[in-house]
Symmetry: C2
Subunit: 333 residues, 2 copies
């Protein structure tokens, strides 16, 4: 039995291109004891994967070249030799960029059957939703009376972060890279939203946050972080989730010119990676957020691309912001 | 009755000079009900005062021009109309840069008579020692098995921070701006010490901290912060106490070029100002640290300048690092 996979052909310098990827066909092994065979329904393309394409070890190992790429996937179990993973069950795995796989049963997590799209287990109810929750709850320690600014707010993490913050009672400002996305943020209940391409954060935040910011949820870094630090109030907190503005940079860009604000305003800038929090907090997150996604309080925006052949373009579009909410590649039903 | 004071003549751009200051003579008022008359024994010149000379409000009000400057002082009460502040008592006040003052009794703190120099109430047992303690305990959450790097380690705060960290069990690396200061750090028990002028932190730390840093106590900012961020381990913490490298800057310098480390290594950079912690923690600090200063476990280095006329030069020397430990101006016995 064969599976189709996406492999990496090179470690790109600067922006990856379609040539960075190749489609490969591989022979699947037999299902051994304790193993399961998975048919992929959908897999995730995420910003953190760009770091794994650098060829250097950061907080996760680099992707190998010409070999199977991993990443979050939702699959159906079609054959099982593992007692706790029955045939027919829906599972989450890290078996990523392929349409079928043989996996250790212990390496997959059986998912509940909820009245939501199963792609949401990759997004609002998976890695990205949990990332938003950890950033707000565990890093920024968001309070109901806070004013929070979320950059890349129409993105997968940002759109959930903004809605969760709003649900908590905070005043929420978001930025995105097109007027359509900005309009969508308003629909999602953001109090204020602006297009950072035509309305730079260093101007927009002064206008939209006249009493300053208490929390900044940073998906962008660079000048946007500098602007946020300018407007953060005393004891302001920045949850540093990602710095997509510099992921494709070939030279390390300088940091904010206003670092002295960290002292004078007693700011806290703290980075985080969601996998550190899985063990302690994922259950709490799932219990809190699942009902909100089911009843529509939290709207889980998705951009769905069809077919494994489209995964490389989906990844490039995700990096360049050419999508709304969570980018998912669908490869089965 | 007259007092002599140091006033500010202008808000300096860049480095202050002696012309930034003037010596003035003022008439003291009578001692009214609830008031005390103080004869200053010594007062403090501190880096944070440079910020108050900017003419802009930061976290404290700017100093007024041609008027009394405040700051920490140890004084003897020579006349009292306040029940709880007896004549003859030693007090701490914020009546700073002058040799005598009339003050509200409620605005001074009666000090214990300890077998240490009373100037230590301005240093190791006062604002600066407390600053070191807060940075380690409340901000960096220092642990006994941490490796910590302290910049400006021969300075008032740095030298106490390094010794407190050592007393706790941590491995302590310090940097200073002369070989004599570096030698002094070794005498004070620092595990490693280097001269940052001849041995840049980006090289020295790699050699002296082969297993990386867990904590950085930052008094300097700039390139030193960038180097420390490079060597901080996962979950490293930087207590940002001051950024003396940029206090005299006329253009805001760019921040570290390696800000993406904040995410990949889950760093926490947190600024603090000691006055926020006075209420909650000063007693704990005094109880913990006073015995260590009395028995010589913590050595409280001081540079003493004599006479109020020397205060401006003492301040300039403090800013440029031309001193060892805490800089104090002595104006009485």
């Amino acid at each position: 039995m064969k599976a189709r996979e996406i492999h990496l052909t090179e470690y790109p310098k600067g922006e990856p291109t379609l040539d960075t990827f190749e489609l490969a066909e591989v022979e699947l092994p037999e299902v051994g004891d304790g193993q399961v065979r998975l048919e992929t329904l959908a897999f995730s393309v995420d910003p953190y994967m760009r770091g794994r394409m650098s060829g250097r070890r950061t907080y996760v190992d680099p992707f190998p070249l010409h070999d199977t790429l991993d990443g979050a996937a939702v699959s159906r179990v079609v054959d099982s030799k593992h007692d706790e993973v029955p045939e027919g069950s829906l599972v989450l795995s890290q078996h990523g960029w392929r349409d079928a796989a043989v996996a250790l049963g212990d390496a997959v997590r059986v998912l509940p059957e909820l009245p939501v799209s199963h792609t949401h287990f990759l997004g609002a109810l998976g890695l990205t939703g949990f990332t938003a929750w950890v950033g707000l709850e565990r890093i920024a320690e968001l309070r109901a009376d806070d004013v929070i600014y979320v950059s890349a707010a129409a993105g997968a993490v940002g759109s959930i972060a903004g809605q969760l913050a709003k649900h908590k009672g905070a005043t929420v400002i978001g930025s995105a890279g097109s007027d359509a996305k900005v309009a969508r943020l308003r629909e999602l209940g953001f109090d204020e939203a602006f297009n950072y391409k035509t309305d730079p954060p260093k101007d927009a935040l002064g206008r939209l946050a006249p009493d300053g910011l208490d929390v900044y949820f940073d998906n962008v870094g660079g000048d946007t972080l500098e602007a946020a630090m300018h407007y953060l109030n005393n004891f302001g907190r920045a949850a540093i989730c990602g710095m997509i503005s510099i992921y494709n940079a070939t030279e390390p860009p300088p940091g904010p010119r206003n670092m002295s604000n960290i002292v004078s305003k007693r700011l806290k800038l703290q980075g985080f990676i969601v996998s550190d929090h899985w063990q302690d907090d994922f259950q709490t997150f799932a219990q809190q957020v699942s009902p909100l996604v089911i009843d529509g309080t939290i709207q889980a925006d998705e951009t769905i691309r069809e077919g494994i052949e489209d995964a490389p373009q989906a990844f490039l579009d995700m990096l360049s912001g050419n999508k709304q909410g969570k980018m998912v590649v669908k490869v089965g039903e």
